[in-house]
Amino acid sequence: MPINNSRISASDSRGFWSWLSSNQSYHSVSLFLIGTHRKRFIFLAAVPILWALVANFAPLLKMLEISFYEAYPLSKGREIVYTLDNWVEFFLLNVYTIPFLRSIVFSIILTISTLILTYPIAYFLAQHLPKSKQLLYLLILLIPFWVGEIIRTYAIMILLGNRGLINLILQFFGLIEKPIPFMYTYFSLGIGIVYLTSLYMLLPLYSILEQIPKNLLEASADLGAGPWTRFWRVTLPLSKDGIASGCTLVFLISMGFYAAPVMLGGPSSTMFSETIAGHFNVAADRWPVGAAFSSIMLISTLVIAATFLKIMGRGGKGIIR
């Protein structure tokens, strides 16, 4: 819809805007740039969209480009040489494929664990609490997440350490003589990542579960369905979208976690993100290898997530539809 400029007249008072309003070139340019609603949107959104592209996609493209370099950063006297060796190295040496596969399997297990732990909480919030109290309880659950990830990871270390709270309690009650070495194992890493990612599972589940009409469950109860049947045949199928979103988010985040594996993991629980970081931390022209491995991880996780969403999408038809 064109801008109505019939109210602009040459008789406007002095000033910059008056001069601009009477300028023919200005009118032509503004008609071209913002003459319609669509054009106005594009004009206003151009800078933020450009910023999003530059800040998010440009670094990924640069990383992809570096993955084909022989060396980077380039030391004195060296020039850019393109090679596929960095990508091939991943497939040739099992010292890299082992942590990669280990990370995928571990992330899948963690995703399922997070789902099992948070689903009941989301269900209780959405289906059993009155609407007036849901927001309050949700905010209470969100409080730990107001603190940064590193601080929360340290909290896990304080909890699980040899002189941490759990060992102190167990020793106080005489249940153990020596501390149980929880830390720097798959156990501590798993607990940490489930804790750090539980919010990303809880919120999508809650938002889907709270949309399920109660009268559906009442109707199925009237038809003779017991609680378990109502859950399996009504609630669970209707919450598939939330499960899909939550699982995708948690899987993607846990695959890419770096700080938690470094702080909570041990020698036998090296995640692929640590392997990638190792290439960026050593001064031996290994950035291109790290970039190649990052690209491989990015592509793999996106393929896995997309496949999962596709599968969930096929089976995601609810009773209402």
């Binding site: 801008i3 400029n5 805007w17 503004s30 913002i34 609603h37 106005r40 004009f43 206003l44 800078v47 933020p48 910023w51 950063p73 380039l74 030391s75 004195k76 099992n94 010292v95 890299y96 082992i98 942590p99 270390m157 350490g161 040899n162 002189r163 941490g164 501390p179 070495p181 830390m183 720097y184 702080m263 041990g266 020698p267 036998s268 090296t270 640590e274 392997t275 190792g278 960026f280 931390n281 050593v282 001064a283 031996a284 290994r286 950035w287």
Partner: protein
Amino acid sequence: MKSKKITRRGVIKSGVATTVAVAAPTIWVPTIAASQSVNVWTYANFIPKDFKKEFEKETGIKIRERLVDDQGKEFNLLAAEKNNPTADICTVAGHRFSQFIDSELIAPLDTSRLKNWSTVNKIYSESDWSVVNGKKWGVPILSGAEVMGYNSDIVSKEEARSWDVMFGEKYKGQTALILQDMMSIVMLYLGYDGNMVAYLNDPAKAKSIVNEARDFLIKHKDKVRKYYDSGAEIQQMLINQDVVVCHAWSGSISKLIMDGFPAEMTIPKEGSYGFIYCYNIANNGPNTDNAYKFLDALLARPEIGANMTKASGYISTFKGSSKYLTDLERRTSSFTEEELAGLQFFRAEANKMKYSLVDPAVEVIKAA
């Protein structure tokens, strides 16, 4: 509620405002950074708080600290910023000079701009390693060593006399080490040259030695609770008794002892390596003049060196600084004659060959 009409004037105003808001940081951030400040990349606690306050008050130059915890990471960060570094001063260990010099990341030191240069003990200021290509590089500030640290309530002094204790069954699962540095120590422990200078002309031998050290560490991987790479981590692990004996940099253990924790450190009989941290002028840094002012102020009084020892745990290179330390501080930041006999310094000549072999070996050990 009445919806607001989008007018041409409003579109222009908001477009200009958005552009200014987005572009402004690119203008004022460099302006502020380029004003009275000096950007120092250094390890935690290397700049004493008192000195920092005093320097900023007297000169009006703000010290902007960026913490680094590894020479390799620092090299990569500087190399990525190469032509426009955000550092004026970086902390480079003496045995890493040639790598930074070859990549033109640091500038030679002009000692004529430092009227307090003579504060540095001649053992360090006149040493061979500080002269490369006929020029002097870096102000030596702190000296340290790769040591064995241990909880003295649990591990005895006799047990700690040998690196064997790290690979024995008694403390299985209660040890920690810095993998890359430990490779050099294991090579020394196995009877080889951990600096690899002796094998510069025999790369095949160098490779077989690295492989032997790698396989040794894989064989004993079950003894290790954690591979770590920062001083704060090992301090936390010792305090929590997650580990009772470790390979560490001397500063971290020395600080723990100074703070009253029942820890000790030693250089085991098989030997170990020492290193010197230096403050180097970054090439093409934005505030080189301020960098020299900072360095000169740091060298002004030996008690500043003592404060650096108190804060970091490392041994100051400043003449006369030890008399400003307490007996405990002096004890924890020094070694016996017997220990010093087994200490040699890291050397740079074979670094390129050494790290090209050691770094991939480290990844193999982690993945094993």
